[in-house]
């Protein structure tokens, strides 16, 4: 099966046009020369080194890279939960400092408030902003509808499945009407089926509201399926290796997983994240530990 694949750099007319339009939109997030060193007892660890990239308004941008390359560090800096050692981040041209509801965050480990019902969780940000009463309640209900959990608005988080919890977390972040939604491996803990559902659901949400999404994952299919562009990081130190424009047309559907441009992009990501030399060194030398002669191969 050695079909000639197109290069991941080849874009169809429609895709090219999309990217031209995308890049004409205003720059929403501008990451400039971001450095992050962690000081530990054993010395300092460089988690991020001169990271530069831009995200345009309503873009869906993913970040992938090997474990420990600084993906979480990057998104935590963007969320304001961590201060960079150097460089700066501009949101709508303004430098960011500290956490702010303008930059909503969805964490991998749900982080719903267990003492609040689904509705109250979604109302949290609105309450913090000084809202109260039926006004914010009906607003929260709209967001719960959007993620399809109207039936569960009075349930407590521990009565929900993982996928449902993550949908509440998304609704909770969106209720603040953020400029950008930061998601750190939000579907990492979900089973394959739920995960696939959540992916199409997220695309639906993204399509229907004015939001830019920065999405961290280590699942290559997920990154390609969801994103306009993919930021590939490498580890030690965390640096941007390449920014890939996904040549798969929109609207996306799971059938596209088998498209040549999808596979070409995936191959390219594989190359970047698991270079050949790495794979060979992973060959295991396994000693035979059984005398039984069943022919299992």
């Amino acid at each position: 099966m050695n079909i000639d694949l197109p290069s991941y750099l080849d874009q169809s007319e429609a895709v090219k046009k999309r990217f031209d339009e995308l890049k004409k939109r205003e720059v929403l997030l501008d990451v400039q020369n971001l450095d992050k060193d962690y000081i530990t007892r054993k010395g300092s660890v460089t988690a991020l080194n001169k990271v530069n990239f831009k995200a345009f308004r309503r873009e869906f941008i993913s970040v992938i890279g090997p474990s420990g390359c600084g993906k979480s560090t990057l998104i935590r800096i963007l969320a304001g939960l961590e201060d960079p050692t150097g460089g700066q981040v501009l949101l709508d041209g303004e430098p960011i400092s500290g956490p702010c509801p303008q930059r909503g965050m969805v964490f991998q480990n749900y982080t719903l408030f267990p003492w609040r019902t689904v509705k109250k969780n979604v109302m949290f940000g609105l309450e913090m902003a000084g809202g109260s009463g039926t006004e914010i309640e009906s607003e929260a209900k709209q967001w719960i509808d959007l993620v399809g959990l109207s039936k569960f608005e009075n349930a407590y988080p521990n009565q929900l499945s993982g996928g449902m919890k993550q949908r509440v977390a998304i609704a909770r972040a969106l209720a603040n009407k953020p400029r950008i939604l930061l998601m750190d491996e939000p579907f990492g803990a979900l089973d394959a089926q739920t995960r696939a559902n959540m992916q199409s659901h997220l695309l639906q949400i993204w399509k229907n509201i004015n939001i830019t999404i920065l999405f961290i994952t280590h699942d290559l299919d997920e990154a390609i399926y969801l994103s306009d562009r993919i930021l590939v990081l490498k580890a030690h130190p965390g640096e941007v290796q390449e920014v890939i424009e996904v040549p798969v047309s929109r609207p996306r559907s799971p059938e596209q997983f088998l498209n040549p441009e999808f596979i070409a992009t995936k191959n390219r990501l594989e190359e970047l994240i698991h270079p050949k030399s790495d794979k060979e060194s992973e060959e295991l030398n396994i000693v035979r530990m059984t005398n039984v002669n069943d022919n299992i191969e």
């Binding site: 965050m105 609040r116 972040a173 603040n176």
Partner: protein, 348 residues
């Protein structure tokens, strides 16, 4: 199937009926031991209760004497050819049999105090409960906020905890004399002993509970726009509330253990006064009854608080530990039964 009847599986839950059985047994075993020692004549019984004093001049009917004394006196009588004393084996006066103690649980309340102006048993108990209440409440009013602050902010943690770590090793009763000098001889010094015994542990325990709140909840709240004060009032406090409540339940138990030392500070009062008084009169069944009452009151308050807690924090229910399951199950079945009784009487 086989796992259903397995009593000894490491870190496995027992079935509800097994748990209930063992809970009953844990109370039954000591009681059975006590019954055996009390009612089986050849187990222990080092004394003799005089039934007929015979010609021994100083014996009195109903009195207890040591076995060897009884034997010696009867030997003397035998040599002198006089009438022997009669008696039956008995336990020392300080070990009354269960039925007497059980009776004392009731008669303790119905017996008039010996001297005028002295409190009845229920008044003594109430007085003790009052001391505990004030000591614990005052301690909590200061200790809970300090604990939460220390658990939230490294600043307060470093400021409070080193001194408290030192102070909590000082035994609360050691402050008795000081407390009397400063606060007089009535209730204030007693309350202060309960306070000292509770407060320092309380700050540390609550600080620890607070610092165990998941950081990611705090971070999530930050990204949702909570400011510092909201973080404390809307995230930290509701987040730790169920555990805080559990801590307070445990600490309340500790406060009870300081009760007796507290009540002999200054003028002796409350249940301690009652116990000492009854011991002086050598009515030991009353002493036991009073001691057990402290236990029952402690256990009952804890069960009631646990039961209330289950209703206060409905989101905790699904992952509630099974540790307290048996007792609270027993308790809620009792309340269910009582409720059915009251509804029956109401309808008839």
């Amino acid at each position: 199937m086989s796992s259903g009847s397995n009593w000894f599986a490491i870190r496995k839950e027992l079935t509800p009926s097994q748990s209930t059985f063992l809970t009953g047994l844990s109370f039954l075993l000591p009681v059975l031991l006590w019954c055996a020692v009390s009612y089986v004549p050849w187990i222990w019984h080092p004394m003799v209760e005089i039934q007929n004093k015979g010609d021994v001049s100083y014996f009195r009917e109903g009195r207890l004497v040591k076995k060897d004394v009884f034997q010696r006196e009867n030997n003397k009588m035998l040599e002198a050819g006089k009438t022997l004393a009669l008696g039956k084996p008995a336990n020392p006066i300080y070990l009354p049999p269960p039925h007497q103690v059980a009776k004392a649980m009731y008669t303790g309340f119905t017996t008039k105090p010996r001297r005028k102006g002295e409190p009845w048993l229920h008044e003594s108990l109430l007085h003790s409960a009052k001391i505990i209440f004030w000591g614990f409440t005052l301690s909590s009013l200061i200790g809970v906020p300090l604990g939460i602050l220390a658990g939230c902010y490294s600043f307060f943690k470093k400021l409070f905890e080193p001194f408290i770590e030192f102070f909590r090793y000082l035994p609360a009763p050691a402050f008795g004399a000081l407390a009397v000098a400063i606060l007089g001889i009535y209730d204030a010094p007693k309350v202060s002993i309960i306070f000292i015994g509770t407060f320092f542990q309380q700050v540390l325990v609550i600080s620890n509970t607070t610092s165990k709140l998941e950081v990611s909840l705090i971070e999530a709240a930050q990204t949702l726009g909570a400011n510092r004060i909201q973080m404390l009032t809307r995230v930290v406090i509701p987040g730790i509330l169920p555990n805080l409540y559990k801590d307070l339940r445990i600490l309340l138990g500790w406060a009870w253990t300081y009760l007796i030392v507290a009540e002999i500070v200054g003028t002796s009062t409350g249940i301690t006064w009652f116990i000492n008084q009854q011991a002086k009169y050598r009515i030991y069944e009353n002493v036991y009854a009073a001691i057990f009452m402290i236990g029952f009151i402690g256990l009952a308050t804890d069960l009631i608080l646990g039961w209330i807690g289950d209703r206060l924090f409905p989101w905790e229910n699904a992952r509630k530990g099974t540790q307290e399951g048996v007792l609270s199950r027993m308790f809620s079945s009792i309340t269910k039964y009582l409720r059915s009784l009251t509804s029956k009487t109401a309808s008839s």
